[in-house]
Symmetry: C2
Subunit: 147 residues, 2 copies
DNA sequence: GCTGTCGTAACGATAATCGTTACGACCGAC
DNA sequence: GTCGGTCGTAACGATTATCGTTACGACAGC
């Protein structure tokens, strides 16, 4: 799978905003988050825009603008983030329709669809068990200066 | 994720070979499987080559050559296939190292690694519950001429 | 107005997958 | 021992997704 880092970066951004707000700040800018994640502010704005559409963050414009959480980190799960930033299904079907004249070609897609649905349901359940509060706590619990 | 169809095509090929052998044939050719999957024989040979390295199928060369199962479909699971054809992890870390001077940038990767490990472990467990025998049975159970 | 930030379009770089062509390696049949 | 069919694999282009970057208009507080 061509693994993509969208979920990771989105979680990073949410954890950063959450911690920043707990330090007393109103909003966080995409530039600050981009510095922490070592990427470009536009990448952050694009991702946070998707999180905003999902109701996880809010943005203010104008001078002193930036991003803030729309909900507490404890009420937000990786599933919320996953659904906001990952469009497609986990596994894809054939790119072209299999031979419908063949017994396997005819039945394989309904069969795999059912199997994949069950697996994705389990994945979603696991993602839903992890709150962004836990992500932040695990992040802060990382040892300093590991040898 | 770009979602990829490698797992789907590999399962299709295994189910096809399994059914073909139950009909009394010794080996299946990549051309036959490619016709059923509506793709190119080289795509099938590439995928089956990876399954051969994993010990799931065997191949014979020369005249009358082709592919056969190395194990019964009932002893083969989607996890075996997944590990054979999917290289990377489900979710990726940042493409560049986050800012180690930032608390979040420093701790986010160990945190997400731990979380992702748990999730992938659950995914593997789910994949291991589905045998290729079940894939074939579900495929054969698909209704004909659905309205 | 000025300034700083968002919002978003546009483009190129990169990488993975897939389809295709090509061709040597192999081996049973004859 | 040649022939024919299939594997094994390299090579290349097409397609797609993500990411990084530049650019610029929209917005709002000062």
């Amino acid at each position: 799978m061509s693994a993509n880092s969208r979920l990771t970066i989105a979680a990073h951004a949410l954890a950063w905003i959450g911690l920043y707000q707990r330090q007393g700040h109103e909003v966080a800018t995409s530039e600050q988050i981009a510095t922490s994640a070592n990427t470009n502010p536009v990448v952050i704005r694009r991702l946070l825009g998707e999180l905003r559409r999902a109701g996880l963050v809010e943005s203010r414009r104008g001078v002193g603008a930036g991003w803030s959480l729309a909900r507490e980190l404890g009420t937000m799960t990786l599933l919320d983030v996953y659904e906001a930033v990952e469009p497609g299904p986990l596994f894809a079907m054939h790119r072209t329709t299999p031979d419908q004249g063949c017994v396997v070609g005819h039945g394989i897609q309904p069969a795999m669809r059912g199997i994949y649905q069950d697996i994705e349901e389990t994945l979603r359940h696991e993602l839903a068990r992890v709150t962004l509060e836990k992500v932040l706590q695990d992040t802060l619990a990382a040892p300093h200066q590991p040898l």
